[in-house]
Symmetry: C4
Subunit: 175 residues, 4 copies
């Protein structure tokens, strides 16, 4: 049973107010799902500078963040270090990694949002309170999300999610 | 005589069911046909992360894959190593390389799909059962293909082809 | 009170004629707000070659230029060195850095244009004579600008601003 | 007086048949006018793989090619070496370099096409038989060209020009 069905009466806004942890897939979420391949086999990825400001503001509201990645890749370590986000790599079973982390933090899956883009994110998307996908997610994944970002992965998707939380948690005041 | 004419009564779905080997050109198929050039002459290319999942599923169905490239380039070796695909480089005559490989594998050209993007792929496209081109293939090549991917080379074209095979070979069940 | 309100009766053209200094944010203005992340944590950015010609012509008219950046990053130093622009980095408080620079140059904020793209540019945008944002600036910032470039950051935005100044200061003659 | 006026009665096809030399600006023509800037100040550019096939075919028809670049940059050397094109760099006065080259080759400017993208290409564009600009050339330059490529610089513009020559010089036969 999907989270979408499990808690179906709750609006996205209500769900956001419950969230204590936002978990992100890396490739396709922090990046455009592209990889730059060099002659010696080393890789590089392209990320969005504006994600940093959004993540800082999320943290200031006491919402934890975490990256869970299937592969072990130095570029993921490099980017998460720069952003100051905790990062779990080499997770063949992403859902197991997610559940362990949530438990260790003393949280429940009803307090978690997960952001993904491809079919290997399905188990995680289907067990959390707020499943989110990026604009250019794989078509098989989109139906399992409750929110699809307006911008593409790596082009401000993470920032858009942070801004959405910001808007719900602290609606702008009329001056 | 084109493959399109040779087997003209067969649908794409029927052809896919015959295929035992998918052969890919590299530049413009796994990449956006761009090359990053550095001061020391070294090069890099940009590939789509999602291709990996698709190729794995193709392999699980017992369909072999192969990259045939005109040039010899370390970035092609690097990417094919990462994807776990066999790779033939420095093939001035791509069609000869294709025919030799097919023969060595004990297959016939009627069991082969070829994916290309430019005029040097024409001889290969014209001799296989299922000639495929990417969305942004050279205009002179497109008429010789039976399937043109909806997305551009390097932006999910390989994955789209894998997903197409998946859909034909194992249509989704109604739940 | 915004600069837009402060000097509201003046047109953009009138404001441009007052400007002696154009101050630029770096990321998102000289770049597309993306960062290329390598395995060893080093970074790269993508800039527009055509910015150089525009900045040269601005300088030839006696208009000074300056980059103010929050972060300290070798890529900013590298690019500003190549363009021959002075550059202040590690400015946690961009507005303080701006005001100090303006004072040191014997200018007033009414002679300054500021080009930004994100919410950390707001204090600077709100205190200068001519606040400018790029096409793809964060939505919260756009209302505070008097000019929004037609092209995106890193894709000719700096050049467009230089060309705008050129057109206002030396309108093309009929031949 | 512009070349466009000088020879105004000739069609583009007639002009192409006169051309013995095609001269290219580098940045914005072979590239998308972007530069990748690394922490140590080194640079990289992005080029279109398909340009190589086009240039080979041009050469096979006995049409010479040449790159003339204002700046001296190792990436230009690297790319022209790979393409096997002769390359003049550090040409502060591009038109002088063009005229010298044309004279040394025993040609006249009426046998030359020039491909550019920005205002520093104007003197060259205005003195040759066939002035060409890329799709995304600077607006001040476009009126001085007789042909504007359908695709953008660095995304197949060079190939499009080669294909245009191919079509005019050897129109496809009906089978």
């Amino acid at each position: 049973m999907d989270s979408a069905t499990m808690f179906e009466t709750r609006s996205i806004e209500e769900r956001i107010r419950e969230i204590r942890l936002v978990v992100f897939d890396f490739d396709g979420v922090f990046t455009d799902n592209m990889v730059y391949v060099f002659e010696d086999g080393r890789e590089a990825v392209r990320c969005f500078r504006g994600d940093g400001i959004g993540l800082q503001r999320l943290e200031q509201r006491g919402i934890a963040t975490l990256i869970i990645s299937t592969e072990t890749n130095p570029v993921v370590s490099a980017r998460s270090r720069k952003l100051g986000i905790r990062c779990l790599q080499g997770c063949k079973d992403k859902r197991a990694a997610l559940e362990t982390s949530v438990q260790e933090m003393g949280l429940s899956l009803t307090q978690v949002a997960f952001v993904g883009n491809d079919i290997n994110d399905l188990p995680c998307l289907m067990c959390v309170m707020l499943p989110i996908v990026v604009q250019d997610a794989h078509p098989d994944v989109i139906p399992h999300a409750l929110y699809q970002t307006k911008v593409r992965g790596g082009q401000g998707a993470v920032r858009e999610i942070c801004d959405l939380f910001e808007r719900v948690l602290a609606p702008p005041q009329r001056e």
